[in-house]
Symmetry: C2
Subunit: 548 residues, 2 copies
């Protein structure tokens, strides 16, 4: 394997651990916990894993001898920087407990457990992946682990390999499923513990006990690097508006964090659009107004950050899409006979007036996409909409109209970007390298202490790693009941951007200035070796949330 100079140098980095985990460790139990809502329903569904106490690890002089243990690990869902460090922290943690402990990786996600596809992760393999990005050590997958026959199939291989604990590294859904599995194995007395680790670049798995999900730090810094570069270009060439879409469908944390880092002219926050019941035209008008104001000052350039999930947060668009789904499902046969050039008018004639008007306002390409590309369930594929192009096209149209009315005096030319894959597998920042390693190490301590249905938790993360607080949170504590596919299900509450939270408020307090002035900040690439203020800062989101 050919390696870059940075890969080689970075392999030698020793991630930092909380002080409490460095020597002998004891688990201190806190108060019993409750779920965030629907306590009765959740308790009923999780009789064995509900109400458990918070766990905090503390240093102790007392050395305990642990028997060797076999542990399994699964990477679930989309990649996030630092996954390999969770695994190396877990590996080092169980080896410290007993050098004869073994770690098995299930291949290509939860499917590997069900299909008995696995490999032993030896020291040689682990060493190849320390401090690297990606999930390629064992691969990841999106199989949902939620059915009893999957649990039983999984148990077969766990039994065969003598695995007593399984660590599932994933987002909110995967951790919900980890808890269901923990409950199932506990109810069956199978003697297999299940521990979760909070992963997702989207930043929407967080709460009082989980300060941040891993990968958010590195991904946002990587996006901010390239957005900063684009802003410097924008400010040098002074002739383009750059519309930059950022990954993250279910929450706008990434766009907001990047905005705090780079100070763009505009950043749309989906949660605000929904809360204010803004229409697509409202969003377009908001952007066009900022463009026109800058043009009046002679500045025909700027940057707009757009969260990937925006369209799904616009209430009126949601209603349009819902009606389109229903209509096209009911009239598929008739629609298939309509000539392509007549489809748009046909759809408009069939929709309710409100939805017809919105549909008619959409650019041709987007309108066609909404009727043609449907997923296997017959639903419109919203994720295929190129929101950045949709918005810039509509802004351009509005500005052209304003120009005729004398309300816009400038030029408008747009460039488009979408960043997602560029950051999901970046090599982890020092923060993510340390945080992930600590999460994995903490998972090993939870296993040693016989815990199941817990999520590995590392807190106080704006302090130095030494001061971080390691422990465990019962996953049921984060749950509530939500309707999914028509059924009420226990799920971990997703953390959307809070409009009364410190990060949004810091953004809202400055955005008018940013819109008018050119206040760009250029964060530059992630640094691993330089001064600590360059290399070791957590995200602005985390700092603001913790009052820093």
């Amino acid at each position: 394997m050919t390696k870059s100079a940075l890969q080689i140098a970075r392999a030698a980095y020793q991630p930092k651990l909380p002080k409490a985990l460095k020597g002998n460790v004891k688990a201190v139990a806190g108060a019993a916990t409750q779920s965030v809502a629907d306590q009765e329903a959740i308790q009923k569904l999780f009789p064995n894993t509900y109400g458990m106490p918070l766990i905090k690890f503390e240093a102790t002089d007392e050395a305990i001898e642990f028997p060797a243990i076999n542990v399994g690990v699964i990477l679930s869902g989309g990649q996030a920087p630092g996954g390999h460090n969770v695994i190396s922290g877990l590996f080092d943690g169980i080896k410290k407990l007993n050098k004869d402990s073994k770690l098995y990786g299930f291949i290509l996600g939860p499917g590997g457990l069900v299909d008995h596809n696995y490999m032993e992760l030896t020291a040689d393999i682990i060493d190849e992946y320390r401090n690297t990005g990606g999930f390629d050590i064992i691969g990841s997958g999106r199989t949902k682990l939620e059915k009893e026959d999957q649990f039983e199939k999984g148990y077969e291989i766990l039994k065969e390999l003598g695995i007593k604990a399984l660590v599932i590294i994933g987002g909110d859904d995967s951790n919900t499923n980890a808890c269901v599995l923990a409950e199932y194995y506990a109810a069956k007395n199978y003697g297999v513990q299940v521990i979760g680790c909070p992963k997702t670049i989207d930043g929407d798995l967080k709460n009082e006990m989980i300060e941040t999900s891993f990968g958010f730090d590195t991904a946002c810094k990587t996006y901010s690097e390239v957005i900063g570069n684009i802003q410097r270009d924008c400010n040098s060439a002074r002739k383009y508006w750059h519309f930059i879409k950022l990954m993250g469908r279910s929450a706008s944390h990434i766009a907001l964090e990047c905005a705090l880092q780079v100070q763009p002219n505009i950043c749309i926050v989906s949660e605000e659009v929904e809360a204010k019941d803004m229409s697509l035209d409202d969003v377009v008008t908001y952007i066009a107004t900022a463009v026109a104001n800058r043009a009046a000052q002679g500045n025909n350039f700027g940057t707009v950050l757009i969260p990937e999930g925006l369209v799904e947060f616009i209430p009126a668009m949601k209603r349009l899409i819902a009606e389109l789904n229903d209509f096209l499902a009911a009239n598929a046969e008739e629609f298939s006979h309509i000539k392509k050039s007549h489809q748009r008018d046909y759809i408009i004639s069939k929709l309710t007036p409100e939805n017809a008007a919105i549909y008619a306002s959409l650019p041709e390409g987007v309108a066609r996409q909404l009727t043609l590309d449907r997923d296997p369930h017959g639903n419109v594929q919203v994720s295929l909409i190129e929101t950045e192009k949709l918005l810039s096209e509509m802004v351009g149209k509005k500005l052209a109209a304003w120009k005729e009315e004398g309300k816009f005096v400038g030029k408008f030319a747009a460039q488009h970007h979408f960043f997602g894959y560029e950051g999901r597998c970046a090599a982890p920042s020092n923060f993510d390298a340390d945080y992930c390693y600590s999460l994995g190490y903490t998972a090993a301590s939870l296993i040693a202490n016989g815990k199941t249905g817990y999520m590995s938790s590392v807190r106080n993360t704006t302090a130095s790693a030494d001061e971080w607080i390691a422990g465990g949170v019962p996953i049921t504590m984060m749950m509530n009941m939500e309707r999914r596919h028509g059924e009420m299900k226990p799920v971990i509450q997703k953390a959307l951007v809070k409009l009364d939270g410190a990060p949004f408020k810091a953004f809202a307090a400055q955005r008018e200035t940013w819109a008018k002035e050119t206040a760009y900040v250029y964060p530059g690439p992630i640094q691993y070796f330089g001064p600590t203020e360059v290399c070791d800062q957590p995200t602005k989101t985390l700092q603001l949330e913790q009052g820093k």
Copy 2:
């Protein structure tokens, strides 16, 4: 101005200089030079600046007192990382000659000279921009400085400000124009020297005396960072082919350098496509074959690097576009009456059979683009073609056909990326920071020695900066006569990728292995503070060209 931690830390970096420039400097003249071709014609056009000797700067014990001098500087054309360091090197260089020297910047490119739009660049301003990316200190522009009345308008302001030397930082065309201006002012005895500096991320301004243009190093490293991240994602998710287009219309140096850095499965080199007279279908077949071969091994993922200018290098596409340009210009009126849904068939019926067949093979969107979007001269806008989507769509179609024939057994799903603006204004790597500062400092020495019509030259750039060789090259030496807009013009020869050059040969020797295996390298982000093998390596292109 809010600054990131890295901006602040990086401002303190002191760029390295060649040893010869550190103390007192003397100019040593070499042999007289000749243009690379068309010597007689070039000499006739440049009687005052032709045949001058190469200049090399050497250290001397003799201190010479220089009078204060006023110097002007212009940034011309597209941004490239390091432009601000050329200016700070120039500033420090003329201040070292005499502390009362002054530097004036012309604003928004060559147009600033003609329109008398300028600012004095004082130490305070310069200090704000050291080691930063972008051209925003004075902005850049694309006005071509090529007419006598522009030269005369420029001279007015130069005279007014007492400017005795002008430094033009630009690509091949801008340096050609710098030389025309040098010749004009020399012929008129205006007493204004003109010095060029080799800028372009495209890497196509290079020759025996100019080893590399500045910005190429940083831009390629930035692209390679994000391509590497995508490759790690690709290798973790194992379900997408990523088609990645890279900036650079007139040469494939960027794509080739990135390929050498990241080892993708496929990289298309335009110069090879042209040399082998490959058709679009040949390129598509080449990619589809690699996809099918990987699929046969169970690997339904990979990466393809595509130079932005590819379509213009495919001989058959050039012929199609030429016929389309002519036909649409002659039949604009008739074509405007053809119904949109009939346009494609109409065009096919009118083209020669060879071109009609190619046109018919194009995806609908691209075919429409070729007939609808024309520039002010009526020409097809090739640059608007999304080559990465064109190729993946055609590859998908071919694979679908092969699947029916049993020749393809896998799945094919594509993601698309285009990187350009992400790297043009990145903060310069150590290499570019040092190289640019040295180029600017060298320009000051050329000015001190009364030179005009020279390009600042820093060579031996794979050695440590101490050992770099600073000097000047007569711009006429790099010229030949080429047909431009129907007229023979003296221009600096553009450096395309040489198929018998070491970089291409190194790539060609490995590409079959890369296509089959997953040999990805992950360069990671540019580092400024770490070990020298991480922070200070020049490009692979430069190392291979210099036999390293």
